[in-house]
Amino acid sequence: MLALVVAHLVLAGLLPLVSARSRPAAFAVAALPPSVALLWAFSQTGPALGGGVTESVAWAPALGLTLSFRLDALALVMIILVSGVGAVILVHSIGYFDRDSPQATRSAALLLAFAGAMLGLVLADDLLTLYVFWELTSIASFLLVGQGGERRAERRAAVQALLVTVFGGLAMLLGFVLLGQAAGTYRISEILADPPRGGLVPVALVLVLLGAFTKSAQLPFHPWLPAAMVAPTPVSAYLHAASMVKAGVYLVARLSPGFADLAVWWAPVVVVGLGTMLVGGWRALGETDLKKVLAFGTVSQLGFLMVLLGAGDRTAALAGAAMLLAHALFKAPLFLTVGTIDHATGTRDLRKLSGLRTALPGTAVAAALAAASMAGLPPLLGFIGKEAAFEAFVDEGGARGYLVAFGLLAGSMLTAAYSARFLWGAFATKPGVEATVVHHRPGALLTGPIWLCAVAGLVLGGAYVLVDLLVMPYAAAYPDEHGYHLALWHGFNIPLLFSALAIGGGLLLHRARATVDALSHHSPVDAQRGYRSTVDGVSRLALVVTGRLQAGSLPVYLGVILVTFILLPGVAAVVAGQWPADQPVYDALVQVPLALVVVVAALALTRSHRRFTAVLLVGVIGYGVGGLFIIDGAPDLALAQFLVETLSMVAFVFVLRRLPAHFTERRPTWLTRLPRLLIAAVGGITVAGIAVVLSAARVGPAVASGEFVRLAPEGAGANNVVSAIIVDFRALDTVGEIGVLFIAAAGVSSLVLATRYDTRRKRESGREQVSSGQSGPDHEREVLG
């Protein structure tokens, strides 16, 4: 199975080579791997419907990561959608895309890559494997919706689809991890065999549902799906009707046998699904773009599927699996019909189309067949699925059963109404609208796939026994109470009445279309507006946070760092540390006058306004610290300190020759100085306090130091322990230190030489001084406007 998936992806990578010669050929080649996958799946039907076919490839065994695949009844149904319908749509694409279409090369490769990812998704038997393919399909969708990214609508729709589905995907990943940890395994089949309970499992399930709802465009995440209709029609037919948007439904179907008895699982699924079915159906009645009508219809149908597959009932699961198949077989041809009409007439606005029934009779008949299946007319597959759905909830009875049953009835009326609206909009001869001109008649490549899918819906409706055989092993995961089987005729019963009511009500709604159309535009809440304000809000929040944190002022940054230092380690030291009881005032009397010199020099430093005075005071501090080193018994340190201090003073004097005598800084007012003073004073006290507390907390001598002293004479051949440490025991430190010196020397010389170079060039060319841009007043004017 992995080989099949990889074959899709590899061939997708090679497809541009074919496209370079002939674009139609590229689509023809792209149709091959899905066909092979479908044939392979059919060849495995026996074992798949029995125990399932499994395959496992160790990925990172040490981490327990495996690529596990499993072909069972549900996966087989999904493969018919993914590979079967996929191949049909790729054949349709041969005729749809023009020979010189710039979109064709990209679309062919991406559609094939998507088919591979989707195949992997439905075959995955491991939560993490599933997640990887899940996100791959999101990315393929983003690229296919965005196309060249040349039109604003395409870019926005692509970003919206990506943001919404990836947000859900990440939530789902978190849910998967929680679920996998609770179950002790990531194998889906093992989790379902012994579903975990309690603990974080409810949280995990809600997170997983979030992923499923975003992917399958459920309320309130649905607007991305209609927006994604800017993509070429074959893409919409494949990704946004037949397969990708079913991923969420598939995930719910996959996990329901293990979790549907929990209210945290079935309640959101049923409520959100029903809501989506009604809202989607209602919105479809107000759209004028045929593709949008179908898109909202898809949203509605996805809600329907959610309810059926998440309810946790055998009959409902049977109905759901059958509807899964039926939906792909009627929605894909309807989309392809729109594509064909668009291709033939140049418009898909139902207000402009008229008289196509006579102009494109073949397409009209095939589309009518598909739409009839969508509306639930016998003897089509859609009717069989819908009958089973009504049966499931009417039979269940109780509050939940009847509420859902009537909800489904209302949703089915809307479905019938927008099916009629679609057919009327696409093919009817409308009074007052001149007959649409057909520029070029659709060829067999365009209409053939429509016929194939539509007829399949009819044939499977007749051969319902086959469908029953196919989906029964999936439904068998639930207890069998009534022995219900899919069939065309169950006798005169309530589900049949519901079916009749749905179709009758739908036709009435369609007859009153003027009123409905007007009403459907009045909506108190708009999910698209919600998405927009969420994105705007996040971006505004980012702006505010960045504007606050990234103030662009060095003193502010340093102040924040210092305040953090004071608040975190400072407070921790006060709270947890213990002030030493017997702190001496001094250890050696000489420390006091030296310390006094250093302190006075340091305080004077803050008051000095002349650069030279400041440098001299720094020198006093340095020499004073050197003196303290001598008292502490560190002659090497003192020597280094005196040498370095002297060298620093020389360097300072060299630079000070060129700088003005006074600091150029504006004299700060007390108000601006006060926070600085406060932060600095508290910061200094904090450092000293932490030092005292920590030094008092020491309980014994440093072990390492004792070893250094013991080993110095023999190990390093040195009597001075400090030099032994520096050149021998910790020689690597010293090498690093020398490296730092080299780098600093290189930096200093390049900075000085650059100045010298500028001066020479200025002298030679007589031009103005070079300006570095940043910080210059001109630059500031330019940036701030």
Binding site: R548, Q550, A602, A680, S695
Partner: protein
């Protein structure tokens, strides 16, 4: 080696003052003052490193009684730190000098790009609003009122025009 290494009060005050002065200078806008602040902080840190080793004692030379000997390890670390402080000082000095030569003063300026972000009110990405599908009427730069947000919008338009191959309308 002596086991009571508590830093005495005089030294603690010295360290506190040195750090406070260093922080104070670091927070100022003059590059030279910042540099001097770094130097003072360097002195303070070196002193603190040495003090962490314990109270005054005999130099760590072999032959001294190990019990009366100062801890050699902090000394070695402080020695390394002193040299590195020196390297840092000279580099900052050269940097300040170069900045003075180029800009004519040695003040640390605010980053104007950052200030512009702070002032910006408009949606910087433009993902949220999708009015005007396809055409760019929603944020054309005809309304040339000053403001940072407009700059971004007009840049976006320029990109748009290049991408679609459309020339901007006059």
């Amino acid at each position: 080696m002596i086991i009571v290494p508590t830093i005495n009060l005089t030294m603690a005050v010295t360290v506190a003052v040195l750090y406070a002065v260093g922080f104070y200078l670091l927070l100022s806008r003059s590059l030279m003052r910042v540099l001097i602040g770094v130097v003072v902080l360097g002195h303070a840190s070196n002193l603190l490193l040495q003090l962490a080793g314990g109270p005054p004692a005999r130099p760590p030379i072999v032959g001294t009684d190990p019990a009366a000997m100062a801890d050699p390890l902090p000394q070695a670390l402080a020695l390394t730190a002193i040299v590195i402080t020196f390297a840092l000082t000279t580099f900052l000095l050269a940097l300040g000098y170069r900045s003075f030569v180029l800009v004519g003063h040695d003040e640390v300026q605010d980053d104007v790009e950052d200030r512009r972000i702070g002032r910006q009110k408009a949606d910087p990405v433009g993902l949220g609003s999708d009015e005007g599908d396809g055409d760019d009427s929603d944020d054309s730069d005809d309304s040339a009122d000053s403001g940072a947000g407009d700059r971004v919008a007009s840049t976006d338009d320029a990109v748009e025009a290049t991408a679609t191959g459309e020339r901007e309308r006059p």
